[in-house]
């Protein structure tokens, strides 16, 4: 299966703490994208990282990509209650067009 794996499946932290979630995939990819989903709504695009990039930042978000290990991580620093959501990584399918998604990490940030 091309489906990725994410861990942990669930993560509970306090406000102000950092949250790290990981994504692994099986095939060679040219980019990987991270998304947030609140309460079963649409996916919000967070970051796209390309295969020739090792790290990318956007505000409190930091994404890394290790193509040798076929893995990526999303770090959210100084978490807020509003960060409570499910986070998914998506990577291109064999045709290189649509995205395949991992099972996601459910993050709960308590105040």
């Amino acid at each position: 299966s091309q489906q990725g794996e994410e861990d942990p499946q669930a993560l509970s932290i306090q406000e102000g703490e950092n949250a790290t979630m990981n994504c692994s995939y099986k095939t060679s990819i040219n980019n990987l994208q991270w998304y947030r989903q609140n309460s079963g709504r649409g996916l919000v695009h967070l970051i796209l990282i390309r295969s020739n990039e090792r790290e990318k930042h956007s505000g409190r978000l930091r994404v890394t990509l290790d193509t040798s290990k076929k893995s990526s991580s999303l770090l959210i620093t100084a978490s807020r209650a509003a960060d409570t959501a499910s986070y998914f990584c998506g990577f291109p399918d064999q045709a290189g067009t649509a995205l395949i998604f991992g099972k996601g990490t459910t993050l709960s940030v308590s105040s």
């Binding site: 994208q33 079963g40 709504r41 649409g42 695009h45 796209l48 998914f88 067009t97 649509a98 099972k103």
Partner: protein
């Protein structure tokens, strides 16, 4: 990014009926896709909506059950036909190619409940 709208946002339907979901983008895009997210699950690709030709379906999805149209570069519809309770899911359209970029953006989703 793109502004993507979906109609309806939610619906409750009786088994055996059909529902057509619309997806509208505010700019021309290269590719449009339809995904399904069953309760508590991740997203599964249903098909790629091709402009002016038949959609390309993933394994496990067929045109008779999920007919798709894409008459132009900014609009697509997905019909869920002869619905059963197992079709209760969130259906999401997504697009690639906004401004020539690789990012894939998603619509707000349509929450479908079949009774």
């Amino acid at each position: 990014s793109a502004v993507i709208s979906q109609k309806p946002s939610r619906d409750i339907c009786q088994r055996g009926t059909s529902l057509t979901i619309q997806c509208q983008v505010d700019s021309q895009v290269t590719m449009m896709f339809w995904y399904r997210q069953q309760p508590g699950q991740s997203l599964t690709l249903i098909a790629t909506a091709n402009q002016g030709s038949e959609a390309t379906y993933e394994s496990g999805f067929v045109i008779d059950k999920f007919p798709i149209s894409r008459p132009n570069l900014t609009f697509s519809t997905l019909t869920v036909s002869n619905m059963s309770p197992e079709d209760s899911s969130i259906y999401l359209c997504s697009v690639v190619g906004v401004g020539g970029l690789d990012e894939q953006y998603f619509g707000p989703g349509t929450r479908l409940t079949v009774t």
